[in-house]
Point group: none
Chain length 205, copies 4
Amino acid sequence: MTAASESSAHNGSAIPRGQGGDALSIAAREIFAERGYHGASIRDIAKRAGLSLSALYYWHSSKQELFAGLLEDSVNDYVQACDAALRDCGDDPAERLSAIVRATVDYRVRRRVESTIAVREIRNLEDEHARRLGALRESATRLFQDIIDDGVRRGEFRCEHPAEARRAIQAACNAIPQWYDPERDVGAAELADRYVAIALRVVGA
Amino acid sequence: MTAASESSAHNGSAIPRGQGGDALSIAAREIFAERGYHGASIRDIAKRAGLSLSALYYWHSSKQELFAGLLEDSVNDYVQACDAALRDCGDDPAERLSAIVRATVDYRVRRRVESTIAVREIRNLEDEHARRLGALRESATRLFQDIIDDGVRRGEFRCEHPAEARRAIQAACNAIPQWYDPERDVGAAELADRYVAIALRVVGA
Amino acid sequence: MTAASESSAHNGSAIPRGQGGDALSIAAREIFAERGYHGASIRDIAKRAGLSLSALYYWHSSKQELFAGLLEDSVNDYVQACDAALRDCGDDPAERLSAIVRATVDYRVRRRVESTIAVREIRNLEDEHARRLGALRESATRLFQDIIDDGVRRGEFRCEHPAEARRAIQAACNAIPQWYDPERDVGAAELADRYVAIALRVVGA
Amino acid sequence: MTAASESSAHNGSAIPRGQGGDALSIAAREIFAERGYHGASIRDIAKRAGLSLSALYYWHSSKQELFAGLLEDSVNDYVQACDAALRDCGDDPAERLSAIVRATVDYRVRRRVESTIAVREIRNLEDEHARRLGALRESATRLFQDIIDDGVRRGEFRCEHPAEARRAIQAACNAIPQWYDPERDVGAAELADRYVAIALRVVGA
DNA sequence: AATGAATGAGCATTCATTCAT
DNA sequence: CATGAATGAATGCTCATTCAT
């Protein structure tokens, strides 16, 4: 807010670097995931980060900004992971669908905490943040949809209702953080294989 | 926020004496669905019901009880709908899977508001309520799982990971209230047909 | 409040006769004694009496009236008991002091519950009630003081500070309900003997 | 209500930053003494301290803790005053009884406000606090009882019921804050003399 | 003689946030 | 970078009381 805010802290990426900032981001992620946006109190977040309430306000200008920063980073990372996966493969629809499902499952497993928030708490974003995140999310949706539509057009997928197919596949992947336990369940790679198989069946590959 | 708030009880004419309980349940359903458990304030619920805060406490002993009652009713109804659907069909796994998917989609469409709560807000139940609802939910899960396992055993379903198949199918159905808009999207029956088709593909029928 | 209030219910004695009224008075006595005026809720009083809240309002026009009625009856009874005790004895100061102490101890033991209230909760009376009860209490105080002053004047009591003596004796008697347990401690008669002995020592009889 | 409310902290000049805790304790003492635990609202306490409701919660975690802290401090001080008084005198029972009565009267007069609370409001303590304070109180009681029992054993006191004697003496001292008015009544030293004389008579010294 | 339904004011407490240092 | 102290608005809930029957 003062001179300090000209430093690297508040410069676009809403999650700042530095010890205090990192601890806060981690704590916020956990607590938002555990209790949801309204159930989480910034007091508890600061306490878990081992910092004072005022320190939190040094790094983030409000609860909403802290929350939005988390979500934005997470969804950005996810979209980038999808882009990267698609960049590394040809233009065969089945191959591309496999790649994006694999990227999605992988992300939901490896970053379970953020995913919990991203999947369930988006409605708590306000105004500007909501618009920006909504657009990002839609871009991910379009990645899926384009692949499926392309497969149908080429005759490689037999699928009468491509929009439903896409929703079903995304819903299945997005539900993973609700039940997945890394200590009890299969690893990310194996799980991805299984969801790829399911997705291919859903589109009638 | 959209259709829901127009169907609210607070529409000019006052609530007839003695019918406050119903108005409160309806208002609570809407507001919990819109804002989640922690985001909903009992003051707002009472206001939408057209009653005073104290009247809410005359009918329900706490916010948690009001919330739990809603969830319990909803999940009970859903399980009964599944049971009824399965009672009316033979023992062919494909037929049974179709029936339960159809019942699920139908419930999620017709009772979108409760479904939103039941699907997303269960974690906010405390103690006793959580235990009871957890058991009920698990019984619904078992209905799905038993059908799929049976189909695999009989060789009618080709499906290497039946637990994953079940999760995918349930996740897809449970996501419906998040996007479905009765004014824009297809009717319940048609939607059920589409999800039955998807489910049968997922299990490899 | 309506025609019913012309009956025997609200006619001076604030504690009405009749089943409901009695049950309420007993319950009120207990709960006011247990939790004090502000700690007691009329809901709990009605519940312990086995009646509805509205029934309480049939018999008593407010919490304050119910409370004041209890106190008034109790203090009236006490003053009458003192008067009666003094009427039955001669004019010897020691005899009279013994009589009034005996009457006081007896009342505090036999009507422990009311005494608890009368001793500790008088300050919660409002306006009119406070004035009336204050006067009554003072009349009891004067009974004590007159006896002691008389004894001093006659040379039967050797006592330099009669007001202090009176306060000490009353305080000792009034503290009885705070510790007395009828199942563990000596009976009322024996206890009265002991306090009479103490009182006579205090005034230097 | 009378002298107390004039000594309140809320007298025009605002509370200096960082000294809110003291102002709150003083205000709480006064208001708890005036209205009792349940009759006192923390809003009123904060208001009299010249602070906001939230500031009260910055310093004290709950109404109960605030209340218990006051009581504990007061009873601790009293027990220490008794200990100190007894440390400075020989082992003659009459001398010791005089010392402890003098300390008690002195405390009840000098710290009338806390004494009012400590004497009348202990029953409103919960759990842990109640246990701790109960033990402290009992230790004070034992100080009295041991002195009296010792006097009886040595033949210096003639007293058939030492427990009753102790109760009477304590009750008389504890009642002082209920009637004592520093502007109208004799000073602490003179009052202590009078109560010492009464106590010595009660035990038959 | 009593009830079920409702109310407005008040309760203790927690919230996100700000200020001064 | 970070803190301790403070705030106003809101929270879930209970209170004494009243209304209509």
